[in-house]
Symmetry: C2
Subunit: 199 residues, 2 copies
Amino acid sequence: MRQFVLLAHDVPLDGEFSLDNLAGGAGRLDAICRSITAAFVTSHGIRTDVRVHLVIQDTYTITFDGADLRRLNPDERSTAALVRNALEVREEAIGMLPAEASPGVELYRYGLETVLENVADGTVIQLHEDGESIASVELSALSDPVFVLSDHHDFTDWEATLLAERVARRLRLGPTRLHADQAITVAHHAFDTEGYTRF
Amino acid sequence: MRQFVLLAHDVPLDGEFSLDNLAGGAGRLDAICRSITAAFVTSHGIRTDVRVHLVIQDTYTITFDGADLRRLNPDERSTAALVRNALEVREEAIGMLPAEASPGVELYRYGLETVLENVADGTVIQLHEDGESIASVELSALSDPVFVLSDHHDFTDWEATLLAERVARRLRLGPTRLHADQAITVAHHAFDTEGYTRF
């Protein structure tokens, strides 16, 4: 299982945004959708052993489970529609019980702290330019990696404090600073190739 | 210089498509736009040493030059607008003279054969699951790589014949079959890290 925790700081909590203006009017949801699809899609389908936890304004978390996911296409717009549909049923999420939005998509009424507790069995990894090179680490020792990535904003002080407590490894992917979706693609590739040993 | 030749078989030659329906009504231009942005964008800007040649129905070629490119944002929609703007000035392309669409974007009235002649100084690479592992090749020996990728269709017989004459190397990126934009991201990473040696 590989998991990705994506922090969205500006996506409207009420799901009131136009699918025609994701880059401008929806808190850069275009970029977040690219990260979601990068986590799941391959040329032949969906990675069933992946979960994405999209934390919106530290208030709601939309969890996508590749084992059950349907209707995830690679384009930004249809992925944004899944996010919007989930936000539209947010009132049905009560306590720790999720709202069921669509197959494999659930919305929870909690933020980063609970997400990090829920993934505590995995190895929480922060991608960071000052981290260790991903090629220098025995990836097979990093069981069930959980990558935490922010959107176009840095981690808030609160998020950074939470992360500092939970992060097991800080890894650097390479010499070029990448967008989050590209980093996810490169991280998948590193694990797919078992640390650049199996092509 | 790294170059990417992208073959689009279904994008309408007249540029008559809606930016609101890229996945459905524009020949999967959503996927093509993801490939264009994957070729150019990094977290801090544009790769200036990259060119993309988008060959549409083997009739027009839109060349994006990172050295001059402006207004390329990472989202599908704004990239699709650059493609549409270029197709709208197609009548101004005469003989080998391009139509100037926007900074760094030119439309030419030729197809794959001429594109491959123009990039003949580089090393033409086909990404293929039966190719050599990219990790087994001395990438520094592949000067000025030119990657050729198709859209959701396979290469046509004509394209495959042309390619067979021009391709210097067939490379495999890893065990997982990826979408074209993901393959571009992974190929950049391989070259950025000088064959997984410099992180």
